[in-house]
Amino acid sequence: MPIILAIDTSTQACSCALNRDGIIIERFEIIPRQHADRLLSMIDDLMNDQALVYSDLDAVAYGQGPGSFTGLRIAAGVTQGIAFGANIPVVPISSLASMALQVGKSEIDIVFSTLDARINEVYWGIYSVEGKRVSLIGNEGLCKPEDLPPCVSGNPVSLIGVGSGLEFLNRMPEVYKEILSDKILSIYPRAGTMAELAVEYFLQGLVKQPEEVSPVYLRDNVAKVSVK
């Protein structure tokens, strides 16, 4: 089994994790605005604790987004530095998929994974989760809560909602409120679940070179052309 280091700083949570033979060892802290200060110490501590050096790693997985732009770039930059330095590939993982996996049970669940995207918008994705398998239904999106699709892909009878985007639940189309069987706002993207997902992707060859690390911002209209 490959040894994979995973890193996530896409929200206020900052985490890193190792997947060694299916065993997850994770460091997870909720530390707004301190990711740059703390992340490398957390990784270093984790590696030392496991008596590993970077050349022991097979790949670095990272939370590609969506999430805080600055946070996404910290994870992306650190992933590039480690993977380039250790000459290993990288595995991008969706922050929303990482959240969906955290509520996975043995039967199939449909999970509505959503994050507060600021300026009155949410990042969202609908996932089918079966145990440790997560698959995205349709695409991940960014929109105002009111503008979510009026029917949920696949017309599930029930939906598990996770993440900070649920703060906007009362502004979402009726169907989301009607079929929501469970809602857990306090679920964050985390490196532990990313490390789990990454092994599957790694074994399937779904890896990239460090230069190809590219955050998934979803929001791309970030500048206005000057009128003058």
Partner: protein, 366 residues
């Protein structure tokens, strides 16, 4: 190689400097504080081995200035490919690196974090020392990359899009700000005047080019803050004066070509004369005779010419970096970082990004 140092640093926490001072050191420099991605490899014995630069000017041009979020997004795309390019050019492997220096500030927070995240984590992975460098220390030491660089002590005039400062430099690592701009930086004033004259961003080179056929003496612009003592600058009034001149001289809403050139000339002349007056005062004030100019505006030929004459009149000498090292670049960061690493300084595992950072608070090397 880095292995010996690394084990030492792990064991002692700090590298004893006399030991390192005798070992040559190859330092990778990473600059991402604004709109240029600059990477370089500096060797303490052989000098600059290679450097590479990617400028985002085109990306930001249509916005009339740097858009921080777009700058950060571009740095994350460009930094690693440029590091590879520099290593290839220098025919070096990662294992040849003895240290890494990255710009830790001042600058755009998001942009700084890209270089910092990559640089600090690469150093951690390679187990070599890393240091966050002050961008303006990089600029200030850039003339030392040249063959006949200045000796210490000297007075430095730092002029860029973000800074206008006169700094007394008794030795490497010790800086006293003698005066600075109270409002716009000189480069910023050039950018704004360029916009008034319908020229693209960044304004400096375009204003200088437009000024070439300008008529000396047609317009007389103020030399701000020169008629009272002190070494501080102010360019905001000069900017307004320029704007008023532009408006007054429009015929049917447009400026004729010669008038545009004459205004550009008068503006540039006013900036250059102001710098000359302040630098002469800085010589008198400090008793020093060596003047170093650095930063993007130090590429301005008229300013170089006038400061060189002043320095000669005062029995001193003017130093400036090669054109490529006036604007932001990785070489100056590699150099400044190398000096500090050789002195035994290095950072812990924090990724540093200090948008504002006072040059005077830097630790000295001795």
């Amino acid at each position: 190689m880095g292995g010996y140092q690394a084990s030492l640093s792990a064991a002692c926490g700090i590298i004893p400097s006399p030991l390192i001072a005798q070992m040559p050191m190859k330092v990778l420099g990473i600059e991402t504080s604004c709109d240029e991605t600059g990477i370089a490899l500096y060797d303490s014995e052989k000098g600059l081995l290679a450097d590479a630069l990617y400028s985002q000017i085109e990306l930001h041009q249509k916005y009339g200035g740097v858009v921080p979020e777009l700058a950060s997004r571009d740095h994350i795309r460009k930094t690693l490919p440029l590091i590879r390019e520099v290593l290839d050019k220098a025919d070096c492997a990662l294992s040849d690196l003895d240290g890494i220096a990255y710009t830790a500030g001042p600058g755009l927070a998001g942009a700084l974090l890209v270089g910092g995240s990559i640089g600090r984590s690469l150093g951690m992975t390679l187990n070599i020392p890393v240091i966050g460098v002050h961008h303006m220390e990089g600029h200030l030491l850039a003339p030392l990359l040249e063959k006949n660089g200045p000796e210490f002590p000297f007075v430095a005039l730092l002029v860029s899009g973000g800074h206008t400062q006169l700094v007394e430099v008794p030795e490497i690592g010790r800086y006293t700000v003698m005066g600075e701009s109270l409002d716009d930086a000189a480069g910023e004033a050039f950018d704004k005047v360029a916009k008034m004259l319908g020229l693209p961003y960044p304004g400096g080179p375009h204003v200088a080019k437009l000024a070439e056929p300008g008529t000396p003496g047609r317009f007389d612009f103020p030399r701000p803050m020169t008629n009272r003592p002190g070494l501080d600058f102010s360019f905001s009034g000069l900017k307004t004066f320029t704007m008023n001149t532009v408006e007054k001289n429009k015929v049917n809403g447009v400026l004729d070509e010669q008038t545009r050139a004459d205004i550009a000339w008068a503006f540039q002349e006013a900036v250059a004369d102001t710098m000359v007056i302040k630098c002469r005062r800085a010589f008198k004030h400090s008793g020093l005779k060596r003047l170093v100019m650095a930063g993007g505006v130090s590429a301005n030929l008229r300013l170089r010419e006038k400061l060189a004459i002043m320095a000669k009149e005062e029995g001193g000498e003017l130093y400036y970096p090669g054109f490529a090292y006036c604007t932001d670049n990785g070489a100056m960061i590699a150099y400044a970082g190398c000096m500090r690493l050789l002195a035994g300084q290095q950072d812990d595992l924090s990724i540093l990004a200090k948008p504002r950072w006072n040059l005077e608070t830097l630790p000295s090397l001795s």
